[in-house]
Symmetry: C2
Subunit: 690 residues, 2 copies
């Protein structure tokens, strides 16, 4: 009689487990006398996992909800971008909670900390380790590989990772997953007692030493191993005094070899050559290497399923090979993949929400979908992923009167950037509201623009799109928070500053002797042209000539004069020295303020009143508005954006904006008491007029 | 002694196979006396595959490169969009060649034939079956389900699919895969001899009949089965005279039940209730049903891995449930996924290139990457995926003088569409150059615009982005090919036609008595405004007043007068009747021509000379240019697009354009002989002047 129901199924599972162990022994068992088994190398049975793949039988997976540990060394701006694509590919296929251990320099840490904090992926834990502290441990090894000292850090992981960590997967930043990382983790189960490191064979003839004349590689077992993907048994490494072992071997080899060529990989191979019992050979599909002289085709043409692609060097995506398109498509999949879609929980695992996520979920759950301003409320609560300094950046040297131009834009204003660079030779901090795919287009745009790629003092911060309303003030706050000079010029991207403005502002700041803590907002008068083609005035005199000729106007003179009326353009015409002006309702000048000025109010999403509220905040905090007599910037024409057209035509939009204004005034009263009354009165008066 | 190398591995694989069969018997074996095994239903062991999933052991996969067959019934515009998302998800995870059998109405066939032909996915075969022919077979069954007759067609598949087909997977259009379809196919191996249909249990209490008072569902075994995902053994169904069986049962039930509520699913369940031995129960993860009253949570919280999500009804994505976000993200992944990335071959399978792909690959391989115009050459060869009539569309009734406005645009001109609809009340055929993600934004834009969603005579054709240069003439040709009226007005999207233009053109066409085959190109004079805000003239008289006042200009009067000079604006001012004009170099008027006019030359990608070449072609084919005295359209200002700015500033761009022009002229001489000489002379003269 057969057992029935659950007991029967459990019995079968147990039986299966036992059988798999037996089979595993057949397939993975090592012959200790010969070191490596030949049947998993390129020459003898090139595909390693072929029989496994063909039978379609993957190894046993780790239990549902088991935490897996991954280590990545990452330094600098470009590697930080790369590592995000890798992480996206891992998260896309993963079904387990993950703990990423990131060994980073200060640049990567700054970028990735912000990114992961704002990404808010459930069931992901991030821990940072300071690469700086590791440098002394490996700096004695000369290395000619482009990865430099960072390339050697995998050697010292056992000494710096927490003692409680027994096993980790170590990845290079230039690999992409196309499978569940738990399948890789499962291969730990196949290690023999003595094996401490799992590696895929190196898929080129590099270590055979026959690639060119006088090519003298480090010693390796056969073709050697590639260290782009490593399974590391930390506990056993610690027991086998790994540290002494690799140092001894490295020192010995460095007596005859002047430096490592392939960083840690040379050392790992030299150690394995002497201690072959330490290595566990992984199937080739777990590290398909697209390097120069690659022999990977022998692996991927036979395999049923590729698991991890290793690009090996920056140029790999452009390699002209008949399968280049195939691999390029895999990579582009994750490059352009919308990271917010990875904010999905692991169904059925205990909740592992990142910090802040629970409150956020509750706040969102309290919103009423039927309420007319629901879209506004939801947008206000949205936490956007933020990738600061997306491109290499040189922070400006500390100078007491330096000014950063701060603004925000989306894809439809990208063509403004070159002109902006020509008009503003100083530092800029720009927030860009883009999708992941657009961020790649943007990258290409900068790289192919001689003007933009020459500028290292422009910091680009990507805020990833999410939701229907443009989060204008959240964007401004991101750009503002990343400005590194004592002063900031808060501008809009459709404005081109006078060519001399950067120098003039710094000179003015110096002359005005504004001490730190002195609350001044220097007003840069705003003009506009309605024509595409016009020659930008080189001086105030030229500007005034154009104004008189009717080719230039004061900004929004016809539609919204109150926005800039307090600047007093008539007085500015004649002014030779800065003059003070008073706040009035709806004033929204472009100003230069100290970097520590109040932030923009993020409740204003979409269009309308976002700058007005900020200027009120400045006035409430008793900033003095000083108009600069030689400063100006000019607004260029553009078609109304899609968002503006959509929402300006909607009565709901106007009602919601009104509600936002009222809430803003309530908060203002709460903060500033009776002093805030004048703003409310002004609002009511202006509404009475309208 | 252990066997070594390959023989050892093969031995292990064989052993494993045997063991799995034994285990499979334990896990999947049916007890024939009781019909269904209880341990795979929601109540007893709700997760079906739980033990399997937990052990991480999937079923044996089919051999590498085996062809799998999939059947989908699809009708109408919206289902055609839906099915593409489904197909994307299948292709993303698949590793096998696939044959899709599509049962379609004329609308879906038209859309999907174009789409798959231009998609050019390797190792995918498409075959269409006419749903019209199936209707008589099932039209006798009353059905209240929204799917109508199409919902019943799965019942008759065994009679219409080729006899050579033994097994197929049948899918509803509203399912999304999150796993390799080969794993589903592999479940055929678990069917007993008598089982003919594999189904997942229905994940609601619908068939229990207790959802509301007087709810009278069709009979079913327990909770019944869901037919959104079916494994069908066609050969066995044919042998068991399936046709008689289901008809008999359906007729019998229809004596007491007035109609099916859930289409084919009711009939399948009624048959299974009487013949439980026919059904093979599939694990719940293969059809996770997010319907009203869903109990799917019992399945997905326990399962290690979801395989197929079934949205069940159009509103499902908006269901407010605590896992809605999780499922929405899965769906959005493929909605926005760039379909061209799925054009990847199956490495190691015999090449199964779609028609034309091989010549294309060869042509691309012949290009020289170092050649300065490489990007142009590559762009010219690019085959873009095309989704014609992306949204529901009502073809215009046949009228002898009707005119379709034909144009093309990308995302940055979307805001022109509403104005265009207000100015042109007739049919339009628009090609949109978008990414997959942008196509979804566009869909949302139309759905939320009262102006656009009210218009059913506007056909939107999506041409998916690929490559750095705007394929302007390929876009125009797509829009032109889809125009359904005898005449077309070839315009650009930045132009707004006079409000009366549509009526005026039809009247003119009638008055001019242009016979079919008569070659006339009616010129619509072009003007431009440099201001955003301007009131559109209601008549020629008003237009002339604005021209005289300097608010309007003839188009590109300052930058490129030769583009429209032959239109002779001075004569037009006074004209009361149509007048003939002669071609001259660089002439590029906007014209109304018969639908069968020459196509645009697709070699012109990017910007420049694309319309000029078309007008030359018209002249070479002896079209008569007739200027209409009351017709006009006005160009609105816009910032230069990113593409224009990028390429206009590049000397290479200008050189390549020059090369294209010369090749065009060579081809012209080849086609038209000495008659084409005048174009070359004109080109040389104008270059001499420049």
């Amino acid at each position: 009689m057969l057992p029935r129901g659950r007991p029967r199924a459990l019995g079968a599972a147990t039986l299966l487990l036992l059988l798999l162990l037996v089979v595993g022994f057949f397939l993975f068992g090592r012959d200790p006398e010969y070191g490596l088994r030949a049947d998993a190398t390129l020459d003898e049975d090139p595909y390693g996992s072929r029989n496994l793949s063909f039978s379609g039988l993957p190894p046993l997976l780790p239990p549902k909800c088991e935490l897996l540990h991954v280590v990545i060394v990452c330094a600098g701006y470009n590697s930080s971008r790369e590592v995000i694509t890798l992480v996206k590919s891992v998260l896309f296929y993963r079904k387990n909670p993950l703990h990423f251990h990131l060994v980073t320099d200060a640049i990567a840490r700054n970028i990735l900390e912000t990114l992961f904090r704002t990404w808010m992926v459930p069931a992901v834990v991030i821990r940072f380790y300071d690469a700086e502290e590791l440098k002394p441990l490996i700096s004695w090894i000369p290395n000619t590989h482009y990865s430099g000292l960072y390339g050697l850090m995998k050697l010292v992981l056992p000494s710096i990772l927490p003692l409680s960590l027994a096993r980790v997967i170590v990845l290079d930043t230039d690999v992409t997953f196309s499978s569940d990382i738990a399948e890789l983790w499962a291969l730990f189960a196949h290690f023999s007692d003595k094996q401490v490191v799992g590696l895929v064979e190196n898929q080129s003839d590099w270590y055979l030493g026959n690639l060119w004349k006088n090519h003298r590689p480090w010693p390796a077992l056969g073709r050697g191993f590639n260290t782009g993907v490593i399974l590391l048994c930390l506990d056993r490494l610690r027991q086998t005094s790994w540290e002494q072992m690799w140092k001894l071997v490295a020192k010995q080899k460095l007596r005859t070899l002047t430096a490592t060529s392939l960083a840690d990989q040379d050392v790992f191979n030299a150690v394995i050559k002497e201690h072959p019992e330490l290595v566990h050979l992984l199937p080739c599909v777990w590290n398909v290497q697209l390097s120069d002289h690659t022999l990977a085709e022998r692996c991927y043409l036979e395999a049923a399923d590729l698991k991890v692609i290793h690009w090996n060097s920056p140029k790999k995506l452009r390699v002209k090979n008949k399968h280049a398109e195939f691999f390029r498509n895999l990579h582009l999949t994750f490059l352009g993949y919308d990271g917010k879609l990875l904010r999905r929980e692991l169904l059925g695992c205990p909740n592992q929400l990142p910090p802040g996520a629970e409150q956020l979920q509750q706040a969102l759950a309290h919103l009423d979908e039927e309420e007319p301003c629901f879209e506004f409320r939801q947008q206000q609560l949205t936490v956007h992923r933020v990738h600061i300094t997306f491109l290499p950046h040189q922070p400006p040297p500390p100078r007491p009167h330096d000014v950063t131009l701060v603004t925000q834009l989306s894809m439809d204003r990208l063509q403004m950037l070159e002109a902006l660079c020509r008009h503003w030779p100083g530092p800029m901090s720009l927030a860009l509201y883009l999708t992941d795919a657009e961020a790649q287009q943007f990258l290409h745009f900068v790289e192919t623009s001689p003007v933009l790629s020459a500028r290292k003092d422009v910091a680009y911060h990507i805020v990833y799109r999410d939701g229907p309303l443009y989060p204008v003030n959240q964007l401004r706050n991101v750009a503002l928070a990343q400005a590194l000079t004592p002063y900031v010029f808060l501008s809009d991207v459709d404005f081109l500053p006078a060519y001399s403005l950067y120098d003039y502002l710094r000179a003015s700041l110096e002359q005005l002797e504004l001490g730190s803590g002195q609350k001044a907002a220097l007003v840069v008068p705003a003009f506009e042209t309605l024509h595409y083609r016009f020659s930008f005035p080189n001086s105030k005199a030229e500007l005034l000539t154009l104004v008189d000729a009717g080719s230039l106007h004061t900004f929004r003179y016809h539609e919204w004069p109150q926005g800039h009326a307090p600047t007093d353009y008539a007085r500015w015409r004649e002014a030779r020295t800065p003059y003070r002006v008073q706040w009035a309702a709806d004033y929204e000048p472009y100003v230069v303020v100290p970097r520590d000025c109040p932030r923009y109010d993020p409740r204003f999403v979409g269009f309308g009143w976002n700058k007005v509220a900020h200027i009120i905040e400045l006035d409430a905090q008793e900033y003095e508005f000083l108009v600069l007599p030689e400063a100006f910037s000019i607004h260029l024409p553009h078609a109304p954006s899609l968002d503006i057209s959509r929402f300006r035509s909607s009565p709901t939009y106007r009602d919601c904006l009104q509600a936002l204004k009222e809430e803003f005034h309530q908060d203002l009263s709460r903060h500033y008491g009776a002093a805030a009354l004048k703003y409310l009165t002004a609002l009511q008066q202006s509404q009475g007029q309208a």
